[in-house]
């Protein structure tokens, strides 16, 4: 009699676990893939394309690389090392500092032996949450489904010496013993050359372009204060990462200042202020922005895409693209940006894409791309 209750409890637990696991398997058949699995470390058999995709991405999320690679078809032209690099990044790229937070997958089409899945990957990164959409092809091998991994293109540059002869500016700070007035070096002269304020679904946006008119590099930040009819400030914000902060002489950058949850309804005036300070800088690396084109992607969104070409000899770890979009009068109507999650190796190129909101699609006639770059170990 004394064993009845423990035995009953164990039996009920086992039944519930079995039901839960079976439940996960059933739900994915109809509505896509849920995130996570009932038991960590337990992976249901990849009997369907959805389950195979889910298993693979969960293993990637847990950085269980061996098991994730096992879910890849052997017909794929990818080694385990390059598969891991594809997910975990390399060369100090943004991907190397990111983690896969979650994913949503939906089938595009499926036959008995082959399926196509579109996956929306949610990444957490040091520059905020990023979303990536990838299409995967899966095939049935016996009674399990596996992903066919495309060949990972790793930039291969022949060994060479790239002479760097561009200018570098160093900053010498004056000593404290100097005579008053003998060591004053002015801050760089920068100018806001355009400004436009609009309302968007997320809030008010102030954007435009700023130019470094000086002959020395400048570290630039643009601030905006929204002022009401009585002259009182409503809110103040700065351009944060929506600007190329380091501007070389005569370089132009777009800026965007977001005021979340605010509308321009009560705004009478916007006070703008471009702050510039002297910084040491280098004219290297030069990054070309090639093959820029506004296009519609597979999801029907208007996207400016192109290729960044690193024309110098050093690796750019995290390239960042900032785009000003103009209407037919040359007015800046939108400023967008996008990070490239792969490092830009010397003399190689990487694609980029920046989305244009639907409301702006008809207005945009031209655009200007500026590349901001973060390189480890450099100011």
């Amino acid at each position: 009699m004394k064993f009845v209750i423990p035995i009953t409890l164990v039996a009920v637990t086992v039944v519930l676990m079995a039901l839960a696991l079976a439940g996960v398997g059933r739900s994915v058949e109809n509505v896509g893939i849920e995130k996570g699995s009932a038991v960590a470390g337990f992976t249901p058999r990849a009997a369907t394309p959805e389950q195979a995709m889910s298993n693979l991405l969960l293993d990637v999320q847990r950085r269980n690389w061996d098991r994730a690679y096992d879910a890849v078809s052997k017909t794929s032209e990818v080694t385990e090392t390059s598969f891991i690099q594809d997910w975990s990044g390399s060369n100090g790229s943004l991907r190397a500092f990111s983690a896969l937070e979650g994913f949503d997958a939906r089938p595009l089409h499926a036959t008995t032996d082959e399926a196509q899945m579109r996956v929306r990957l949610h990444w957490t990164t040091p520059v905020g949450p990023l979303e990536d959409v990838r299409d995967f092809r899966l095939i049935r091998e016996g009674d399990v489904w596996r992903a066919v991994w495309p060949k990972v293109q790793i930039a291969s540059v022949p060994a060479q010496i790239v002479p760097v002869t561009y200018l570098r500016w160093d900053l010498v700070s004056g000593g404290t013993e100097e005579e008053w007035g003998s060591r004053n070096v002015d801050a760089p002269h920068v100018r806001i050359i355009s400004m436009n304020a609009i309302d968007s679904a997320e809030g008010a946006i102030v954007m435009g372009e700023v130019v470094n008119e000086d002959t020395v590099p400048a570290f630039v930040n643009v601030n905006a204060v929204l002022v009401d009819g009585a002259g009182n400030p409503i809110d103040d914000e700065n351009s944060f990462d929506k600007i190329a902060h380091v501007l070389l002489p005569k370089q132009v950058s777009a800026y965007r200042i977001d005021f979340p949850k605010l509308t321009l309804k009560n705004v009478k005036n916007v006070r703008m202020d471009a702050k510039a300070t002297l910084i040491p800088a280098s004219a290297d690396p030069v990054i070309g922005v090639m093959n820029q084109k506004l296009d519609t992607d597979a999801q029907g969104k208007t996207v400016l895409h192109g290729d960044l070409l690193n024309q110098s000899g050093q690796t750019v770890n995290i390239p960042h693209v900032i785009v000003s979009f103009y209407d037919n009068n040359g007015k800046v109507v939108w400023v967008g940006d996008g990070y490239v999650d792969k490092a830009l190796l010397a003399q190689s190129s990487e694609p980029f894409a920046v989305e244009l909101p639907k409301s702006m699609t008809g207005k945009v006639q031209n655009f200007h791309v500026v590349v901001n770059q973060y390189s480890l170990g450099r100011s």
Binding site: V185, P217, K250, M290, K293, L309
Partner: protein, 284 residues
């Protein structure tokens, strides 16, 4: 200056009128010794209060009280008080010594060439004790570029300051500005830099994978070469898209290799200045 002397005169007269047992000097030049004479007899306590000094000493009435040069280095009004049965006081002024240095401020440190009223400067004389000297005088401002003297401008000081405002020169380079007052001189340097690009011209030719483009030597409208590192943005527009390169100028010329294929229109811009357009047939 007049105001300062008037205040000192009023203070001195006040001292003479109401402190009959104490006689203070009229005006003392900073850094000089002085003597305060007293009348009467017996012991008394002497107090001296002024800018940067406060002293108490036991003195004998009827004797002179010496004031050392060290306690009279700061210009301004001083108060001497002698107390025995009653207190008597006298005030006197310490005036600045002759100018020993010039504080010379010139703005800006960098200026584009040929800009009206772009350079300004102001000079303030100070004595050896860092007292602001208000005495009238003439400061001679001189402007030289290289070894050539461009301008000499004598300016009378008003309320202890002399200033100038002038147009920047037409040649890029260091502009030496000096201010001279008597045998004192102060130097500053203003870097005159090239202004915006003028007649930006671009040339190029097809190259493997696209086009190679470069500017002609980039000058401003005064003929100065734009400094190295100045960014020139090259744009190559084709039927299927656009490519851009922000290339820094090196030895007066900016160069870029741009990926392109087919008929390509190349343009260049530096800051807000646009250059010419060039039509090329890029190599496919």
């Amino acid at each position: 200056m007049r105001q300062f002397f008037s205040i000192c005169a009023v203070i001195t007269l006040a001292g003479v009128s109401f402190a009959q047992d104490i006689r203070v000097p009229a005006d003392v030049t900073a850094g000089n010794d002085a003597v305060i004479s007293t009348s009467g007899s017996g012991k008394a306590t002497f107090y001296l209060s002024g800018p940067g000094v406060a002293r108490k000493a036991d003195v004998n009435l009827g004797e002179s009280i010496p004031l050392s040069s060290k306690e009279l280095t700061n210009a301004g009004s001083y108060l001497a008080i002698v107390c025995s049965d009653a207190c008597h006081s006298g005030a006197f002024c310490v005036i600045p010594d002759k100018p020993a240095s010039l504080s010379f401020l010139v703005h800006p440190s960098r200026v584009p060439v040929a800009l009206n009223d772009a350079v300004s400067g102001i000079a303030f004389p100070f004595d050896q004790f860092h007292n602001f000297v208000l005495a009238p005088g003439t400061v001679n401002f001189q402007f030289t570029a290289g070894k050539a003297s461009l301008l000499a401008q004598p300016v009378k000081m008003q309320n202890g300051a002399a200033w100038f405002r002038t147009t920047s020169g037409r040649s890029a380079g260091a502009l030496q500005v000096s201010a001279t007052l008597g045998d004192i001189m102060a130097h500053r340097v203003v870097q005159q830099v090239a202004s915006d690009a003028c007649n930006l011209k671009v040339e190029g030719h097809p190259s493997p994978g696209g086009v190679f483009v470069q500017t002609e030597p980039v000058h401003d409208c005064a003929g100065n070469l734009l400094p190295d590192g100045t960014v020139v943005t090259f744009s190559a527009t084709q039927a299927h898209g656009k490519s851009t390169v922000d290339a820094p100028i090196k030895q007066g010329i900016a160069r870029a290799q741009i990926s392109a294929s087919g008929p390509t229109t190349v343009s260049a811009a530096s800051g807000v200045v646009m250059g010419n357009e060039l039509r090329l047939e890029a190599q496919r």
